[in-house]
Amino acid sequence: MTILEALRLAMGGVVANRLRSGLTMLGILIGVAAVILLVGVGNGASAAVQQQIEALGSNLLIIFPANAKSGGIQQGFGTASTLTMDDVRALADRQAAPDVAAAIPSASGRLQVTFGNQNWNTSLTGTTQDFPSVRNYQVASGQFFTGADVGAASKVAVIGQTVVDSLFNGADPIGQVIKLNRQSFRVIGVFASKGGSGFNNQDDVVVTPITTAWNYLLGGRGRNVQQIYVAARSAQSTQVASDEVTQILLDRHHISDPAQADFQILSQQDILSSASQTTGILTLMLGAIAGISLVVGGIGIMNIMLVTVTERTREIGIRKAIGARRRDILTQFLIESMFLAGVGGALGILVGILAGRGLPALVSALPAPLISLPSVLMAFGISVGIGLFFGIYPANRAARLHPIEALRYE
């Protein structure tokens, strides 16, 4: 018996019970659509996170202080205050660090910002004039503060789009005076939106000169640099730049053993890979949950195939009487279950893709699902495989029927 013949037979069986076959296919359809959609959502989230990390800056290295030790007990990550403004200046030295394009300090905190009768809780970053280039911020209107502002600790601020939207209600913020911790600051610039949402909203910022932040806003913490952001000259030179930074800081802090360093360097690449590991697990989990429904669909196929075999016992007897071998009967029912699962799977892929298109319109908070060809092919392969797996038992039962008993079956 050829495969084509077996397929024709299987199709005949499927068409003979349209409703039943349709419902069975629906089980697989829902399973496959769920897998496609949820894996797509996972991949979409992964891409969104990646995009946000890339938006942090280009070829970025982030230097954190080491963990503080208090009486021999390790404190949390980045709790020591070992970085200073002098470190930042040293890193900006072209001779010592030729692969560093720019280095900026960052001292940050959360504070309340008010304008008129509006107020908003946002994050403050105190930094220097190179902040826009290192952190990839564009100034949409007005301008960023200058080195002179940093030197003079001017009470000026550049604000992100979220802060503008929250406070100004359509008015032009440039030149307006806002209150940060009840002190007056002049808005001199507004950043162009970078996107991102939730915890990672990079538009929810107020940026001031670091000297200003120290003097007026981050009181009690001293002239402390929480992080140093370093931009390498190019993507290829990040490793070299990292080595240069390490050497300069070790020298400055009089440490000879790199293992004892009082700072840690995190590259954008490190953050990216740890984030994609996390989102990868998320995708896997979503896929696994959807996979459960696929298994349920497979059990549905097995159930229906068992019914089909019982119903067609007499037909099996006839086929055996006229010369069908066990293998012929086995193939017939296996192909029938694989056909059910395969068609259900193909339709499920279609539904999954369509739902993926429609989802962002329904739930705007979700990142747009990314549906890739390999995941589609895999889903189809798995659905056919499920047809095969759950078809084996019923088909085997059919193949083992004794011809006389099968012929006598009413």
Binding site: M1, T2, E5, G12, A16, R314, E315, G317, I318, R319, K320, A321, I322, G323, A324, R325, R326, R327, D328, P403, I404, L407
Partner: protein, 234 residues
Amino acid sequence: MIRLERLTKLYHMGDLEVPALRGIDLEVGDGEFIAIMGPSGSGKSTLMNLIGCLDQPTAGRYILDDVDVSGLTEDELAWIRNRKIGFVFQSFNLIPRATALHNVEMPLIYAGENQKRRDKALAALASVGLQERAQHMPSELSGGQQQRVAIARALVTDPSILLADEPTGNLDSESSLEIMRLLAELNQQGRTIVLITHEPDIARFAHRIVRLRDGLVVSDQPQAIAAGATETAP
């Protein structure tokens, strides 16, 4: 050529052993038309299943065309059923959701015949006079027509033996006559026919009548004698 030697079949019903055949010796030559008769419970259906290679004997030998088939595997028996034996059943046993043509093609599918399958099936249908009904479903055919489709299916692999188990049991007398004439005609073309029946009118078409009772052959006579006898149906 069929040769049965001390053929025995026991059925197990719980702890009980029920003998269905208790040592049948029988020889059917090529081209014979033989009727096997007997009351229900005489073992004629069991004998039919054994001759048709649908079942294996408990003891004794069955030699079909010089091959001892008593010890063959299930798939080997399937091959013999496909090539050497054509079945005609009382209840036709056509597959309801396949056309007449497809039903007739079916043994060829399992024989691996792909090239001339359709032509052979159409020829078999033509030989029973049903070529116009090739695309009809069994439910669209009369009982006599369905049985003729079944005969075409039995003939399509050109087997040497035709096994007919009460072929007229579900037919009216006119259709019965038609079917029996068709079988007689096939016999004249040289095919061995083994007919199982309990109707004397039907058995009359055979050239030889074997009677069974309680799993044993009680008489084996040529047709001329049987045809003349006035019998009451058992």
